[in-house]
Symmetry: C2
Subunit: 206 residues, 2 copies
């Protein structure tokens, strides 16, 4: 192993240790209930859907909640529609900027959109009214370094109000986020109909 | 390997081959859209939540849907409450029998409840009005053989209307069901706060 990669590994280990220590301090003296940092990741389905399932539970329990969508799909998603039309009072709904285009030439615009989404996310998390915040597909923005992972993790560990739940979704969650989280679920794909040429369908995919 | 286990393996392989053949026939001449058999399994979170997330999408799209819950929790779940109070017209909601008690002495009652749930499930799936049916925690009833797996798989492959979607949730999905399904997602637990003594919380767990 080169000195450079040994250094990188050592830095990584030190960083992880620091995150773990911060997390351990946070967990010390915990009472029975606390706001959770939750991550839904992996290549399988259900990462966003289960986040929206939890939003539905919050609405049922009268817990004010908020959603920030970091990826604006090309279709109008069912979740967005129903939250805006039927639950506007119970759940605040935001789509960050203009969304990603996945095209390199718009990288600057994508970064600005992600940063704007994170600004909204911070405001919602800090708002004492809001008890649950879903940051849908934020992992994509983190993966491409449109957002700074250290800043996000630091905010979640040190500035998030103690009782507020935050759920972060999207594949390829960064190890720093997994280390900081209380609950991490990995969704794996065992079988998928797209392989057989079946297209995305209403109700199931969007 | 004993003759007995060789026989068992051969029977299993033959059964799987038969299920696969039936599935392949079903897939032949498929058009672009078809009703899917979906399975959410594994020890992680999000199996039921993402099923309810899809229900929310169906409601948004005006697709009539139905939920049959095979396990009645000891708490009133948020999903049940909101579906019954706010979406009674869009989504039919059933809890099978009196639910499971997980106590051996009530096995007969549990079997009756599961069978009753399956009767309702069949009716909802066959109802041409209904486009999406969520069979929540049916895998538990299948695992304990409260329902016959061959009967369930046979019904899904041969009697389910072509365009109807069915989503079956619960850990330990039987291999026969996975073989028959179009889309299978496994939820794995990477990290869970219960390990640290944090209790189940409103909005997150129920």
């Amino acid at each position: 192993m080169s000195d450079e990669s040994t250094d990188a590994n050592a830095r990584h280990a030190a960083k992880m240790k620091k995150i773990k220590a911060a997390r351990d301090r946070m967990m010390e003296g915990k009472t029975e209930e606390k706001g959770l940092i939750m991550v839904h990741t992996g290549p399988g389905k259900g990462k966003s859907s289960s986040g929206f399932g939890m939003i539905l539970r919050c609405i049922a329990h009268g817990m004010p909640c908020a959603v920030v969508q970091f990826i604006k799909g090309t279709w109008v998603t069912g979740e967005a529609e129903i939250l805006r039309n039927r639950f506007a009072e119970e759940c605040r709904f935001f789509i960050s900027g203009e969304g990603f285009t996945w095209e390199v030439q718009d990288r600057e615009r994508d970064i600005a959109a992600a940063q704007n989404g994170w600004k909204i996310a911070r405001e919602q998390i800090l708002d004492p009214e809001v008890q649950f915040v879903l940051l849908d597909e934020i992992n994509i923005a983190l993966r491409y370094d449109y957002l700074d992972i250290d800043e996000v993790v630091d905010f979640l560990l040190h500035e998030k109000p103690r009782m507020t739940h935050v759920c972060l979704t999207g594949r390829n969650a960064k190890p720093e986020l997994i280390e900081a989280a209380d609950l991490v679920t990995e969704m794996s794909l065992v079988k998928h109909p797209f392989r057989d040429g079946v297209k995305a369908q209403k109700g199931v995919e969007f």
